[in-house]
């Protein structure tokens, strides 16, 4: 599905991404993790075809992403930006229908079954009752659901998520990623997500791509990648990694230098 060949990006004389090569297969979910400034968002923009690399290629189905026509690209690749939709005065249904834009001719008409796709996206995201409400009257969590429904209506083969859980409370974070995961399994969707929360990344992603200083530090399944020494090297934080008691997925616990603020009762009494 995706192949990066010697992909590099330099912005204003600064090298953001060093030459990197990797391949991602169709139907899997990938997480891109790494500290701030590691080049995660830049890599995502290159994969979305919005920017041209300074060297190398980001290939989608064998063709450079930036070489697709805009609408052809939008039929294959959808992007969910952080923060969800802005407060616009369109209704939920109107906003979701805009996801069909790449399939419409210049009169705004669509040959295929656009209406049914929109219906389904609204239903799947539990937005059927909200469809006539205006987007600017919704809560942040509801707006994020609208954004996801709109992306679904776009029927992409590749979904790029740019820190989708930022600004969401934990209930909505899990709900959002559960939805994406179910959708990915149903439709053989390829998902690439920039994620801040390493525990969520380890749970949801088949493989993790760890970026550090513009290069690839590691690329593999969470069980191989989420290791205390690698995390300390990349993030500069000491951690303990434990298997999740119910799922067995590796989960991180932070181990700061300073002792915990709330002293243990046993220590206090002894």
């Amino acid at each position: 599905m995706i192949e990066a060949k010697g992909l590099a990006m330099t912005i204003a004389g600064h090298s953001i991404l060093n030459e990197m090569s990797f391949a991602m297969r169709k139907g899997a979910m990938y997480g891109i993790i790494g500290p701030n400034g590691a080049g995660k968002s830049t890599l995502l923009r290159l994969l979305s075809g919005m920017e041209r690399p300074t060297a190398g290629q980001a290939l989608l189905e064998g063709k450079p992403a930036s070489a697709y026509k805009r609408k052809e690209l939008a039929k294959r690749v959808a992007v969910l930006q952080q923060g969800g939709l802005p407060a616009v005065s369109f209704t939920v249904r109107e906003a979701v229908t805009m996801g069909r834009f790449p399939y419409q001719n210049w009169l705004g008409e669509e040959a295929s079954e656009g209406g049914r796709v929109v219906e389904r996206a609204l239903r799947d995201m539990g937005l059927a009752e909200l469809q006539d409400r205006r987007v600017d009257g919704l809560s942040g969590g509801e707006r994020q659901r609208v954004a996801l429904a709109k992306v679904m209506a776009q029927e992409p083969e590749l979904l790029l998520l740019d820190e989708p859980t930022t600004y969401l409370d934990i209930g909505y974070q899990v709900q959002l990623l559960d939805t994406v995961k179910r959708w990915q399994a149903e439709r053989q969707l390829t998902v690439v997500a920039v994620l801040h929360d390493l525990n969520l990344a380890a749970h949801y992603c088949d493989e993790l791509l760890v970026l550090h200083g513009g290069g690839i530090e590691a690329f593999g399944p969470p069980s191989k990648v989420v290791q205390p020494d690698l995390i300390e090297r990349v993030f500069g934080a000491r951690t303990v990694v434990l298997p999740h008691p119910e799922t067995g997925v590796p989960q991180l616990l932070l181990l700061p230098e300073v002792p915990p603020a709330e002293e243990r009762r046993e220590e206090a009494s002894s």
Binding site: S48, A74, S89, M98
Partner: protein, 333 residues
Amino acid sequence: MLLLLASMVISLSIGSAGLALKDVWGILLHQLPWMPDAGTKWDAAEIAIVTQLRLSRVVLGVLVGACLALAGAGFQGVLRNPLADPFTLGVASGCSVGAAFMIVFGLQTALGLWTVPLVAFATGMVTLLIVFALSRARGAMNVETLILSGVIVQAFLGALVSFLVTLSQNVVNEAMFWLMGSLSARSWEHAKLVAPFLVVGLPVLIRYSQHLNLFVFGERHAAHLGVNVERTKLIVLLVSTLLTAVAVSVAGVVGFVGLVVPHLIRLIVGPDYRIIVPLSAIGGGFYLVWADTLARTALSPKEISLGIVTALIGAPFFAYLLYRRKVLQGGAS
């Protein structure tokens, strides 16, 4: 549309010569090819007033209003700036510098009648680029800063136009015309000049109206949905400036039409540009015909400049929009 036609006919019948509504209707209907000659029922002076003076003026008003309102809708959509309009962006003043220069000094080129609007278009585009350059800070364009830059540039160019006019003979009337706009002493020639620009501009803006809908989510968002953002911006800005240029070339600077009309349309029909764009053209015509009717009858037989009427309505409206933005601070509108 019906409202617009009715307004045109009513406006036709209002005027210093005092003709009854049914006479105006009658004269108009008798202009149709299969009707008997109007000369049998009305005298030649009455017919001339209706067909030559009033009808051409009303038609021109509709065309100019449509151009300005469309330009306003285009600017607002592509800049995602609810305060944008040919006047507040300084584009109208920019166009008036070029047009006034050509007319005051009687310059002509091989382009004939089209010279003035095309020169006005060129100076309008340059003005737009200057305003953009003034308001851009580290790549981002703030809504209020853009309008502030527009107003500054507009003040400067207004002075420049006054200066140009002062160099010519006919000082007072000409200066008033360019600064405040007017439809007086215009003829069918002017209407014929404006019409082709509108005929080309309207379909182009309609063609891009769905793109403008996607712009409200942000440029990057629109790009992810398959919109060619750079091309859309370029075309919509060019067409909006061209429509402004031709309107200014025949009617001077008539302010706030492009601000007021699309907003009122939006209040009535909602945020969809596919509806806003065509209705703005109709609404702009409607609005300007009435503004002009007011301008030529309020102090009859003396005329007020059209721009005075539109500014008296438009400026408070602009203040209201600015105030409401402040109240809703943070919300993207």
